[in-house]
């Protein structure tokens, strides 16, 4: 049963050094606040999983939280490279980052297999690609009826998945809508799922067949209004495209990155504090 918990406590009690952690989101509903809290608490040696690692993964990697990254597309959407990710892979800064690289189809199927408690995912995939040459976790199995060769990759079964959603009710049942990505599968594939939400309401009033995650399938529900920023929550906020562009020069340089992280994340108390200091930085720039 998910308790309505402050994010700080959920991260502290549910995420441990060395864990495999997926913070999922597909442009929409990316759990930035939870990522910051992981950085603030100095979690180390994490295996990070995500189809589309973006800014929050760039930050986690640059701050040295990650030992390994399992992913299928790592970039700053609409802008370009993730400089901290590239620096880790190309130069080993702040330390070497092991990578396991898939296609989106592979990762999406691996989450489905994880949620289904299967050891591996079966798909038509990777044929003709060099990915199987560099990823020993891509293998092939034969159909016992037709003899066809199909790709097999291990399930993703994170210790902890973190997602952001629009609403929870007071019992901790969660409702999300719009672009769902792999969030439901990621939450159900994990041993422990943390959901940050825009608001807690009396009744979800979910439409028929909506994406609802029942309280008892979750470990913690944490109210963090705006917790997806600079990503967005449909019907609550807009994506801050400018932040994504502004991130590029900050992240290009190790020192400017570290200074930014210190001021905005390490020295703020929580996400509300981050938003306040960020507001001050933006105001200063635009004066």
């Amino acid at each position: 049963m998910a308790l309505i918990t402050p994010l700080r406590e959920a991260v502290s009690s549910l995420i441990h050094d060395g864990d495999t952690v997926a913070l999922e989101g597909f442009t929409h509903l990316i759990p930035h606040a939870a990522g910051h809290e992981i950085i603030r608490q100095g979690k180390k040696d994490l295996t990070l999983v995500r189809m589309t690692p973006d800014l929050i993964y760039d930050q986690l990697i640059g701050m040295g939280c990650a030992r390994k990254l399992i992913f299928s597309w790592g970039g700053n959407p609409g802008v370009g490279s993730l400089h901290r990710f590239r620096d880790a892979v190309e130069q080993g800064w702040p330390h070497r980052l092991e990578t396991v690289e898939h296609s989106h189809a592979g990762m999406a199927n691996a989450y489905v297999a994880g949620a289904s408690n299967l050891p591996f995912a079966l798909l038509r995939g990777y044929t003709g690609s060099d990915l199987p040459k560099v990823n020993p976790w891509i293998r092939f199995v034969e159909c016992p009826f037709t003899g066809e060769k199909l790709a097999a990759i291990p399930s993703v079964r994170p210790d902890v998945t973190v997602i952001h959603a629009q609403k929870a009710d007071k019992r901790g049942n969660v409702l999300l809508w719009g672009i769902l990505g792999v969030q439901k599968e990621a939450a159900l594939a994990a041993k422990r799922a943390i959901v940050t939400v825009e608001e807690v309401v009396d009744e979800l009033n979910a439409p028929a067949n909506a994406c609802v995650l029942p309280s008892w399938a979750l470990a913690a529900v944490c109210p963090v209004p705006g917790g997806a920023y600079p990503s967005y929550a449909q019907d609550y906020s807009q994506r801050d495209n400018k932040f994504y562009k502004d991130w590029d020069p900050i992240a290009r340089n190790r020192d400017s990155f570290l200074a930014w992280m210190k001021r905005h994340v390490l020295e703020t108390e929580d996400f509300a504090g981050f938003m306040r200091v960020l507001g001050e930085s933006v105001a200063r720039e635009t004066v």
Binding site: T27, E90, Q238
Partner: protein
């Protein structure tokens, strides 16, 4: 505005959009493919069905999405399903007529690299990676690729094949058991390349007006074959140019830019 003034990017985009027939079911990559696909929808192909890997089916965005998961895609779609469902039931299910992709690098058999420049284990440049491309390239009934043509992008040998075109050419793709038909057109800012029916080597079959064959060869990292009946690409008509510019103006107003990515 005169209808004969247009940029190289504009003729690339319009030429790419023209290839997309009305009613086609198109799996759209973000960036140039998304611009061309939406232009098609706003001009000659109002019933084109645009599918984005984040989940929207039948998206009709009013401005170009900056990312693959923009709210406008969700709000204008016929339905939004999960990302696993997109890849399982819709792409792998064999329902996609056209996969519309971009690329960082391409070779003569239309294989694509979006992974690394240099050795995989010690890359010179770490690119974003595969995203949806390997299975889109493999499973769509046909594939259009749109990218700007230069020697860094059009290379003799790819350091890494992220997504298969025709592999080593000839029937290599079929022999590898790849279900979809593969790339049928590579649209660049200089012309249109299509695979030879037998060797599957990319051949310049259409050149944009004002571009010379020498320029195209110079922008290609291998000895580019030129079609005997090389055509000149039709210039963008005024309606298409207007639609494209309006779309980009709306997009700039909404987003401040229109590049794109898969995140």
């Amino acid at each position: 505005m005169s209808d004969v003034e247009f940029s190289a990017t504009e003729i690339m985009t319009v030429a790419a959009s023209r290839l997309l027939g009305n009613g086609t079911v198109c799996f759209v990559g973000i960036g140039l493919p998304s611009t061309a696909a939406n232009l098609a929808r706003l001009t000659h192909a109002p019933d084109v069905v645009l599918i984005y890997e984040s989940g929207p089916i039948g998206a009709k965005p009013t401005v170009l999405p900056l990312s693959i998961g923009d709210g406008d895609l969700s709000l204008t779609a016929d339905t939004v399903v999960s990302t696993p469902e997109i890849f399982r039931y819709w792409l792998q299910g064999g329902r996609i007529d056209v996969g519309f992709l971009g690329a960082a690098q391409i070779d003569r058999f239309a294989n694509i690299n979006t992974t690394v420049i240099g050795p995989y284990d010690a890359p010179k440049v770490r690119l974003p990676g595969a995203g949806g491309a390997p299975e889109i390239a493999a499973q769509a009934k046909e594939v259009f690729i749109v990218l700007k043509q230069n020697k860094k992008a059009f290379v003799e040998k790819l350091p890494f094949i992220t997504s298969a075109g025709f592999l080593d050419g000839g029937d290599a793709r079929e022999k590898a058991g790849i279900p979809g038909g593969g790339p049928t057109a590579v649209i660049t800012d200089l012309g249109i390349l299509t695979p030879d029916p037998v060797t599957r080597e990319l051949t310049l079959t259409s050149i944009h007006p004002g571009v010379t064959v020498e320029q195209v060869k110079e922008a290609t990292g291998w000895d580019l074959k030129i079609a005997a009946d090389l055509k000149t690409t039709e210039i963008p008509d005024a309606a298409a140019l207007t639609a494209l510019r309006d779309l980009q103006a709306r997009t700039a107003k909404a987003h401040g830019q229109n590049a794109g990515g898969e995140g």
